[in-house]
Structures are given as C-alpha cells and as structure tokens.
Amino acid sequence: MVEFLQFTLSGISFGMIYAAIALSLVLIWRGTRLVNFAQGAMAMFTTYIAIEVIYHTGSYWTGFVVALAAGIVLGAAAELAVIKPALGKPELNAVIITIGLLVLLEGLAGIFYGGQYRSFPAAFSVTGLHVGSTALGVSRFDVFVAAAVLVTTLLLAVGFRYTTAGLRMRAAAFNATVARLSGIRVARVITVGWALAGLLGALAGLLVSPSTFLYPNSMDTIFVFGFTAAVIGGLDSPLGAVIGGLLLGVALSYAGGYLGSQVTALVALGILVVVLMLRPAGIFSGAQVRRV
C-alpha cells in the first residue's frame, strides 16, 4: 500500500513534466497545426545553457532564469527562421523540418558540450520526504516540480483568459481569418506561441534533467511521453494536456514500479495506440477527428 502511494506521488511528479511538454505542444498545435518534434531537443539545449551558466556563476537560479529566457528566444527564433517559410507548404515538409531542427540541435549539443552524461543539479533536496516513519517516495524537489509546472500553467491560463494578448492568441487559434480581419497580426501571435512553448519546454528540461542526466539524447523519451500525453488529452486542449500528462505519469509509474522500469516505453506505446484507435481526437478534445 505504501508502495502504491509512492508510485502515485512520483508518477504525479513526472506527470507534471510530461504535462509541461504536452502543453508546449498544444500551444504550437493551436497556433500552427504542427507538432514540433524538436521541442524536446530545444529543452535539452536550453538545459545545457543552464549548466554552463551555473558553472560560471555558481548560482543555480541564475542558470534557471537564463534557461527559461533562452527557451523563449529559441522558440521564437525557430518559428521565424524555419517554420514561417514552411507554413502553407505540404504538411510532410513541416514535419521533416522540425525533425531537421531536432537533429541539428542534438548535433550542436554534441559539438559544444560533448556526449557524456552530465549530472544536473536539483533546485531542492532530493532526499525522500517522510510522514512519520513512512517514506512518501517524493522529495522536496518533486514537490517543487509539481508546483513549478502548476504555477506556470495557471499563469498561462490566467494570461490567456484575462489579457488582451491572450484574447488575440485565442482568437487567432479559433479562427485565423476573423482574427486577421479584426486587425490581429496573426503571424506575430504565432511567434509568441512558439516562444511560450519554448519557455515551457525549457522548464521541463530543467525539472527532469536531475533525474535523467543530461546528454544530447536525454530529452528524446521525455518528448515522446509528452507527445503521448498531448495526444491523450487532445492536441487542441490545454487542460487535456495537463490531465493527460498526469494520467500518463501515474500510469507509467505503476507500470515501471510493478513491472520493471524497462516496460515503461512499451506501456506508453500501448496507451498511445489504444487512445488513437478509440478516440483519435483525444479524450478531452471537442474537435473533429482528423481523418482526411
């Protein structure tokens, strides 16, 4: 029973990270109808930047903030340089372009930072917390992870709902034509969407790297799980992304805990296939199924 609690709590913690990636994918999907396959690699890259800053300044939080800023810049830069020219072209081209970005970033990371596994510091203590004598299976850091993602998500949600900039983004996502006719610069809105997605990805990288170590391919699996979470929740639905992330995190935690850590990717594959076959639009999406 204690084990179950431990798996649940650590599943929630990882689930928040998948939720962050899922949310970044949803942001981009709503703006450009694309899946950014490079989202994980971008997060890896900004985490490397963080490590360099931490090393040179000795301050974790400086590195943290710089990484988030780098995520914003990287997201916007990628959209302007590489995605904008591809909009309106065949969908296949855009998918391959984001894969090209993925490959490029992993190659650059290898060149600048080398391939060895680097350890990444955690913001808070990673020793397990206890209630009485029972180990909870989570640490202060895990709590920070959940809180950081939750706070960021809430800030974004509030921003979207209550600010004019948020209204612009929502209008552009729902109906770009009407938005443009209203005077909204949709192209700019899209760039902002990618910048925010870059921020979320950077956050995810910072939060997960203490557990996975940092190397050029370290975000590959996390990205894939984040994508699965986004699909579960529905690529159109930010709320679905968060719930999908939590569900997946907990499910994979049980699978890994009771069946062995080697099966998690296979379980995720199974979940992804089942969800896509039953409800291709995702559990929480109200949108039309993408058939044609």
């Binding site: 065949p90 969908e91 391959i96 894969i99 090209g100 080398g114 590959d220 080697q262």
Partner: protein
C-alpha cells in the same frame, strides 16, 4: 523501344557489375562499406516508398530493422538454417509486424502517424531488456554466420557479404521499381495526393496504406537481417530512434519517393560521417566533436532541402540531365518510369478552405 522492365533489369545488371568490380579492387574495409551501403539502400528504399509514394511518414522503421536483425540472430543461433531461408523468414516476420502497425495506423495522418511511429521506434528496443535471456539484454546477441563452403577457404568474408547485400539490394530495387509502376504504385500515389478522391475512384484506401507499410517493413526487415550478419552482433543500442531518423534523413536528402534517391541517400549517410570524422580529427578536433558535425549538418540539410529543394539529390540529378538534354524524364504525378517518382516537393498542400464563387 525497349520495355521499361528490360531497362530496369539492364540498370540493375550494370549496378551488379559495378559492385563486383569494386569489391574485388577495393580492400576489406571498403567491402564492408559496400555491404553497409547496400543495407541502407534496402531500408531507405522501403521508407521512401512508404513516405514518398503512399504519403505515410514513419519515424520508426528502425524498429522493423531490429525485428529482422533479431529474427536472424535467433534463427541462426538456435536453428542453424541456411541464410537464404533465414532472410526470407526475417522479411516475413517484419512484414507481418508492418501489417499490424499499418492496420493500427491506417486512420492516422500527419503528426499523429509520425508520433506513433516515433514511439514505436523508441519503445521496441526495450523488448531486449524485458526478455534478456532470449534477446540478450544490453549486450545483445552474437550472430553466427559462416560463408558457404563452395567459395573456398580463401574467399574474403567481407567480399561475400558485399556481394549478397548488393544482390539483395538490387533485387529489392527491381521489385520496388516494378511495384511503383504497377497499379499498386498508382493507387499509392492516388491515396497520397487525395484520399477522398481515391476512395471515390474505387481504391481501397486502407488496404493500400497497409500494403505500403507491409512492403516498407519487409524491406527494413531484410536490411536488418543483412546488417546482423555483416556486423555479427545485434544489440538494442544499434536500433535507437537515431537509426530511424537516419533512414528518413537519407530518404529526404536523396530524393523522397525515388529509388535512385535511396542510393544517393545511403551513400551520404554511410560515407559522409566517416569522411567528416577523418577530416575533423586530422584538424585536431576531438572524436566527439568530429562525429557530431555530420549530425548537425544533416539537420541543416534536412531543413534546407525541405525549404528550398524538396526533391533532393535525385531532383538535382534529373535537373542536370534535363539541362544537358540527356533525359526528358520529368517528375510527374502520373509517372510510370521507376526513377521519376514524385517527391515531397510535389505532394499537394492540405486542402485549403475553398474560396467562394461569388
């Protein structure tokens, strides 16, 4: 006018002759590279048919290669079958897996399909850890392969491996060329260009899509089987997502949808890293940096090809031939010639909202 089939066979024969000559003249390492290139030609050709002809993107063909490779290793180790039989079985097992994946993915498009195949490519290698006793876990399985006795004792193994890999590659290319020219190929292109119109024209869209996956997986499985014997080892580390992405990279750079593109693409992904690493280390760069330079370059090339030159190297070759007046072959949607298949640059855009008629 010679029939297209004869022309295809003629080209294949020419290719065979070239390979035999090269394999005799060059040293053992080069023979190994010829074999490696042939392996990638098979895998990339399967992928280019799937993505370029039937319009289904797959980021998981490395998983099919793994299936072919592990099947080969197990059959050779436990049953000692002759290699031809093993090759056939490996192809069949991969094809069957391809059918399963194809059915699951039949209704998926674009990013959803890419995501599922990506997950397949990431997850499948973990099977080796789940069944470490049979599948060898992290260390993998050694592949037991002995060359046929009739060659004699002095015949270099690498040359033999180059020969059989290339032979299989040429056979596969000829078969794919014919398939591309047949009704199956036309159906694939129709489905790729406009599913609704294809269905209205009486094409069984789901069947066509699944068949493409079967063919693609079979090719990857054969490639994996050959890879197993030329590297003498199958381990999960050789079949990561990096492999699947390398296949896609090769297909795109070579010219998506074209069989010659599969050849150019595999030449690039086998030879460029070796060459670049040599150049870089001779300039004093560490091996890590040197081995990552081609990777970064691939990323840039993928992006540039998609943005500027979607038809890849084969597109460039055709353009050059047209310029010199040698060839009148144009990439077209109705192409019946095997080496002029349309590429990613010609797939139609998503149907945009129809403008009003007033």
């Amino acid at each position: 006018m010679r029939s297209p089939l004869l022309r295809i066979l003629g080209v294949a024969l020419l290719g065979a002759v070239i390979v035999v000559l090269l394999s005799i003249k060059l040293n053992a390492f080069r023979d190994y590279q010829i074999a490696e290139i042939a392996v990638y030609v098979i895998a990339i050709a399967g992928l280019t048919v799937l993505t370029g002809l039937s319009g289904q993107i797959s980021l998981g063909n490395g998983a099919f290669m793994a299936i072919g490779a592990y099947t080969t290793a197990l059959l050779l180790a436990h049953l000692g079958w002759p290699f031809v039989a093993v090759l056939v079985v490996a192809g069949i097992v991969s094809a069957a897996t391809g059918a399963i994946v194809g059915v699951a993915a039949a209704r998926l498009h674009g990013p959803y399909l890419a995501g599922v195949t990506l997950m397949l490519g990431v997850a499948l290698p973990f099977l080796a850890f789940v069944y470490p006793s049979t599948l060898g876990g992290d260390q993998g399985l050694n592949v037991v392969y002995t060359q046929p006795a009739f060659l004699g004792v002095n015949f270099p193994l690498t040359r033999w491996q180059a020969w059989i890999s290339s032979a299989v590659a040429l056979v596969v290319l000829v078969l794919l060329a014919n398939l591309g020219r047949s009704r199956v190929g036309r159906n694939w292109r129709a489905v790729r260009d406009d599913e609704v119109a294809a269905a209205l024209a009486g094409i069984n869209v789901a069947q066509a899509r699944v068949l493409a996956f079967v063919v693609s997986a079979a090719c990857a499985g054969l490639a994996g089987a050959l890879l197993a014997i030329i590297t003498a080892l199958v381990a999960p580390g050789a079949f990561t997502i990096t492999l699947s992405i390398a296949l896609l990279t090769g297909a795109v750079i070579g010219g998506l949808g074209t069989l010659f593109g599969a050849i150019w693409g595999s030449l690039v992904i086998v030879l460029v890293p070796v060459y670049a690493t040599d150049v870089a280390t001779s300039h004093g760069l560490s091996t890590t940096v040197a081995s990552n330079i081609p990777v970064a370059a691939y990323g840039v090339v993928l992006i540039l090809v998609m943005l500027i030159f979607p038809q890849g190297i084969q597109g460039g070759v055709l353009w050059l031939l047209r310029l010199l007046g040698i060839s009148a072959a144009r990439p077209s949607h109705e192409a019946s010639t095997p080496d002029a298949m349309p590429s990613a640059g010609e797939t139609p855009a998503r149907p945009h909202e129809k403008e009003g008629t007033q």
